[in-house]
């Protein structure tokens, strides 16, 4: 009604009041420097700060995700023992660089703001990093790195240069236990891939070990109750991973004696490495 009425009335009589003229008059009568507008300007500044920080964190998180995926790829690429050692050393080096670089930036970025406000911005990066970190520690030392240990690595001391000498302050990048667990859930996918890869490289011992590790982790997840939505969603993938790796081990046992290991080569297609947003690609193929 308003649109039609406006044009019609406006043409007929300029003196007449129209809907838009009523609105315009009200808008024009507003003082430009009212306390209300001043309040909104303050609010705008607060919201902008929050948004900018969020964007910067998303960027950092994305950088971490990409580098972590590359590290995982590097760890999978090695076939011989010597190559594996070299790959693990390089991976450790690159993981440390991540901790000293982007993670420190996240810690500094969040230093003044409340925890959890931006947890959604960084969770993806944290998860992928934990996935890489735990896989690397498993291949390096044969044990899973715990939450405490990772958290301890993310404590920094920052030096402030002031006129009255340098002061040091501690900055911690908070890793939530949930993010750690989500990363560990993704680890089962990597272990499955590793088990399948090790069949192709003829290392059946490695395969059984990885398989057992996936089972142990799955058992652990089954025992949890009161897990969040996200973790519950990942449980499906984890269950599939267990099934796949057990089937692979079964195949190795039954048919492994009949065929030389080279006939069992079935490399997973690795085309979706750059896809950082989806976690479903962690299931892998065999």
């Amino acid at each position: 009604m308003s649109g039609r009425g406006r044009g019609y009335r406006g043409n007929r009589n300029r003196n007449q009041q129209t809907l838009s003229s009523v609105a315009r008059e009200t808008a024009l009568s507003l003082p430009a420097d009212s306390p209300v507008l001043a309040m909104f300007k303050t609010a705008a500044r607060q919201l902008n700060e929050r948004q900018d920080r969020h964007e910067r964190l998303v960027k950092l998180s994305r950088d971490i995700t990409i580098e972590s995926k590359r590290i995982i790829f590097l760890l999978h690429s090695a076939i011989t023992k010597e190559a594996t050692e070299k790959a693990v050393a390089e991976a450790n080096d690159r993981l440390n660089k991540l901790i000293k670089g982007p993670f420190k930036c996240i810690g500094l970025e969040l230093e003044k703001s409340p925890a959890y406000l931006h947890s959604r911005a960084v969770t993806a990066g944290f998860q992928e990093f934990i996935e890489a970190k735990t896989l690397c520690s498993l291949m390096d030392k044969g044990v899973l790195i715990t939450w405490d240990e990772v958290q301890k690595e993310m404590q920094y001391t920052v030096k402030d240069s002031a006129d009255d000498g340098d002061t040091e302050r501690a900055v911690v990048t908070m890793l939530t236990p949930t993010d750690y667990m989500l990363g560990v859930a993704d680890l089962t996918g990597e272990l499955m891939r590793r088990a399948v890869n090790s069949i192709s490289s003829g290392d059946s011992q490695e395969c059984f070990q990885s398989c057992q590790y996936v089972r142990d982790l799955y058992t652990g997840f089954l025992g949890l109750f009161g897990i969040g939505k996200e973790l519950a969603r990942k449980m499906n993938t984890t269950r599939n991973n267990v099934a796949k790796v057990e089937l692979a081990v079964y195949a190795l046992k039954v048919r492994g004696g009949e065929a030389p290991p080279t006939l069992l080569i079935q490399q997973p297609p690795m085309t979706d490495w750059e896809d950082s947003t989806h976690h479903s690609d962690d299931e892998g193929y065999y």
Binding site: M1, N13, L19, F40, A43, A44, W147, Y180, G220, L224
Partner: protein, 238 residues
């Protein structure tokens, strides 16, 4: 098996953190439920503004009493929430806090006709308006959504005031909501909840404008000194 023990350890620790988390949530949920009930009572009291002019000041007074009760609730909530974890549990009190922001802003507008500031609302609830690294506060987004709820309620009041024969109030509401509308345009909203709620504001504004327009073409608006005389016209379609 040694590895198994390590894994067991990891999962036990995680389960412990889940458990304590659940306990905190349980306490928070109970308090939020109480606060929520009080807010619903307040909403019911204030419905009178739409049909009974004389009841307004009485309703405001009664609602003020409820705010005092809510303040006690927020005090307990503040103690229940670990100071570092405000945003971890924010979901639990987000809605009810938005409603309180709305209710407080409405009562203050009815009483004195001005906008309740972020600080005022926070003070009535007995919490801090400033977001800090630690501590309980009134989140700016919750406050702003409260204001948007207020605009919807006022658009309804504008219609009902006319029905009641009060031609002054729509003008007052129109000026107030227009100013808020201008204010909200200053914000850079991204595609979130606040933005969606803000997008609905234009319908409230439109409704109020239409009421004022209907009044103005029938010359029912109270005269101000500098307003030019408008010739009378009867509208067929409205």
């Amino acid at each position: 098996m040694c590895e198994n023990e390590l894994i067991n350890d990891i999962f036990t620790k995680f389960q412990q953190s889940l458990d304590s988390d659940q306990e905190t949530r349980e306490v928070i949920r109970t308090i939020c439920k109480e606060i929520d009930q009080i807010s619903r009572e307040a909403v019911t009291y204030l419905q009178i503004i739409h049909h009974k002019e004389e009841g307004i000041s009485q309703a405001c007074l009664k609602t003020r009493g409820l705010f005092e009760k809510a303040r006690q609730g927020y005090l307990r909530l503040k103690e229940a929430v670990p100071p570092t974890d405000y945003f971890k549990y924010h979901e639990h009190w987000r809605w009810v806090t938005q409603r309180y922001s709305f209710l407080i802003a409405l009562v203050i507008w009815l009483e004195v006709g001005i906008l309740a500031s972020h600080e005022t609302v926070a003070e009535i609830l007995g919490i801090s308006p400033i977001e800090e690294k630690e501590g309980f506060h009134l989140d700016i987004e919750d406050y702003l959504i409260g204001l948007l709820l207020l605009c919807s309620e006022l658009s309804r009041l504008a219609v009902n005031a006319v029905t009641r024969g009060d031609y002054n109030k729509p003008l007052q509401i129109s000026r107030f909501v227009m100013e808020l509308n201008a204010g909200f345009r200053l914000l850079n909203l991204k595609n979130d909840h606040l933005r969606k709620r803000f997008d609905a504001l234009k319908y409230d504004v439109k409704k109020i404008e239409e009421v004022v327009y209907d009044l103005s073409i029938r010359q029912l608006l109270p005269k101000t000194a500098d307003e030019p005389k408008i010739e009378d016209s009867k509208e067929a379609d409205s």
